[in-house]
């Protein structure tokens, strides 16, 4: 207890454990109030997932992880990029068109499409960055508005390039040729493959950590996020950092839809997954902008998402309970970290006061 390193470790563990326990408690209360079978719900949620479910969880987590990273880049710079949702849809559409047209053969086509997606995402986010830097427009407002514009724009162009299968009411871009898809790998003999993109997502996480913590640029970015006045005083151009941070956030957002595109759907159509950008905000908060934390958050969310079908079909509980649990976890994490931080500060104050008191008595003696 008295070893300060042990105390720090204990406090670090206390926050997430407290958060999960609280979330567990609150969700149980909601279940009781709703008259649902609490025990059955938890035994289903906490049950051991099957191989194919594990693959689904990893896949879903890959997508959520990239979304969380994109939001976290903005958070580190004190920018709230709500526009990841629009950015990834613009980017996924651009990548789907580029990859579908297949101007280059095989893997070169894939690389080109990924670069195009990052560029498109960066450009879309860059609009908000420039508006913020040059005109002082809050990025919260501009990115929300850009989400709407992205929806309309992509829908318009999708109708122009769309191909439609006979008998289907779904429209989509041309399918990506087989040679340009990113192969996945199987876990056991389940029917679902894990996206090969998971390794690129992990790489993105490493680059995020390295750039932010081991480069001068990362230091500048964090410094500007903490205090613009201090940043200006040390010779950092805040205007430039704002635009660059938005560009990077947008480029990462551009990757969000790509695991789905290259590993599952092979085209962008009316059933392409939406709303991933908003999930990213919750996950960045949950992971406290740390690359490992975001990974844990993404896995947790993906794990809960995977329970939604069994809960409905096997237990007969509304899938909204999953959304409630996710929301509660975000809240309890934010709150418990604050509670534990304050408790830590209090502990330190006591320790310092005691030390001072001891010193004073020694001096008196």
């Amino acid at each position: 207890m008295k070893d300060p390193r042990l105390v720090k470790l204990g406090l670090g563990l206390a926050a997430p454990v407290l958060a999960l326990l609280l979330a567990f408690l609150i969700t149980s209360l909601v279940l009781v109030v709703a008259g649902d079978p609490v025990g059955e719900v938890w035994s289903t949620i906490l049950g051991v997932p099957e191989e194919r479910n594990i693959a689904n969880i990893l896949n879903n987590a890959t997508v959520l992880y990239l979304s969380g990273l994109a939001v976290a880049v903005g958070f580190r710079m004190n920018l709230f990029n709500i526009g990841v949702d629009g950015q990834y849809r613009v980017a996924a559409f651009v990548a789907a068109v580029v990859a579908g047209e297949a101007w280059l053969p095989g893997a070169a086509n894939t690389v080109l499409a990924i670069l195009a997606a990052m560029l498109a995402g960066a450009a879309w986010a860059g609009i908000a960055g420039v508006l913020r830097a040059r005109r002082g427009v809050s990025e919260v407002i501009s990115t929300i508005m850009l989400n709407f514009i992205a929806t309309g724009l992509v829908a318009y162009f999708l109708r122009r390039v769309a191909v439609r299968e006979e008998g289907s009411n779904d429209i989509g871009t041309k399918e990506i040729p087989e040679g340009s898809r990113i192969p996945g790998f199987s876990i056991g003999d389940g029917p679902t493959e894990v996206y090969g993109f998971i390794f690129l997502a992990a790489l993105a996480g490493f680059v995020y950590w390295f750039v932010l913590n081991r480069t001068r640029f990362g230091f500048d970015l964090r410094a500007t996020g903490r205090s613009t006045t201090a940043a200006v005083a040390s010779g950092i151009s805040v205007t430039k950092m704002t635009v660059v941070a938005m560009l990077i956030s947008g480029a990462v957002a551009g990757l969000v839809g790509l695991p789905l595109l290259f590993g599952d759907s092979y085209s962008y159509g009316s059933t392409f997954q939406s709303g991933l950008g908003f999930a990213g905000i919750a996950i960045a908060l949950l992971g406290r902008n740390h690359p490992i934390g975001i990974a844990i958050g993404a896995l947790l969310f993906a794990y809960l998402d995977e329970q939604s079908n069994p809960l409905q079909i096997l237990v007969g509980v509304s899938p909204d309970i999953v959304a409630i649990t996710q929301g509660v976890i975000v809240l309890t994490v934010v709150i418990s970290y604050e509670v534990v931080r304050r408790y830590g500060v209090r502990l330190e104050q006591h320790a310092v006061a005691r030390a001072l008191e001891a010193d004073r008595q020694e001096a008196r003696a």
Binding site: F24, L25, G39, Q273, Q312
Partner: protein, 349 residues
Amino acid sequence: MRKTARFAAVAMAAALTLSACGSDDGADEGTDNGDAPAATSDVKVGMAYDVGGRGDQSFNDSAAAGLDQAVEEFGMEAQESEAEDGEAESAREERLRTFADAGYDPIIAVGFAYAASIAKVSEEYPDVNFAIIDDSSVEADNVASLVFAEEQGSFLVGAAAALKTETDQIGFVGGVETPLIQKFEAGYVAGAEAVNPDIEVDVTYLTQVPDFSGFADPAKGKTAAQGMFDNGADIVYHAAGGSGGGVFEAASESDNLAIGVDSDQYNTADPSVQDVILTSMLKNVNVAVYEYLSDVEAGDVPSGVTTYDLAVDGVGYSTSGGFVDDIVDQLDEFKQQIIDGEITVPTAP
């Protein structure tokens, strides 16, 4: 130290709830067994709805009505599950697999969004029967496609609108601009022009994919219809699911008329707007679901494409309220011409 005690208290409370949950388990299973109806059929139906699920007063509800009828009549066991907005493709697949693993057969997927997942999962479970509504792109021995000739029904209500309009200007409000809803538009416009080649038809869609909120936003429907009425239209047809309520409201407030969709909305819409509903384009999803299930019950599981068109009364128009009684003869003449193939209704605008 007080804080530590508080943490401990929270932890204790959580632990207590946990153990309480454990004891809940047995009791609940008991009541579940008690709830089960006296089954006369050993068919277990898995029903996978689209976003909105049962209670959307539209497409999903119509499918649910067919299921309810079959459950009541044959004593089938049924379990339902609905899609969530913005879910992953894998979630749809997983929904079908969870049903299949739990022994549900047949499994009915409501909506074209399930096309890709039905194609995949039907291959993994060759012994389980699947049905999909609004899609005929999947070809497999264990898949039945239930599709509708929405354009034919829409043609008739378009003709009705053209016969009833006093301003020679009518409107169409689509929920989401997808090929499916464009079929409604195409038929409606063709029907109106068959009566009056010079008629003006205003067309608007509430949202674009992948934003499917246009099927569930009455406020958007109201604004769109209001704009059309202000612009001189006097009858507006909606193919916008739950947003249609707003279209009826706008018609009621401006003393104009509206046309319902999917079910006979004269009977299902809010009574205060009943008298503005000229007619409804009937898309009998309930009939399709019921007929499919009764075939399954009889041991003759259908597969392949079944098209519900005017000839089999899979689509049509409603006469509740008596507003179209005077033009029924003309509409039925069009109907016969379509059935006979004298009129071919376009499926795309």
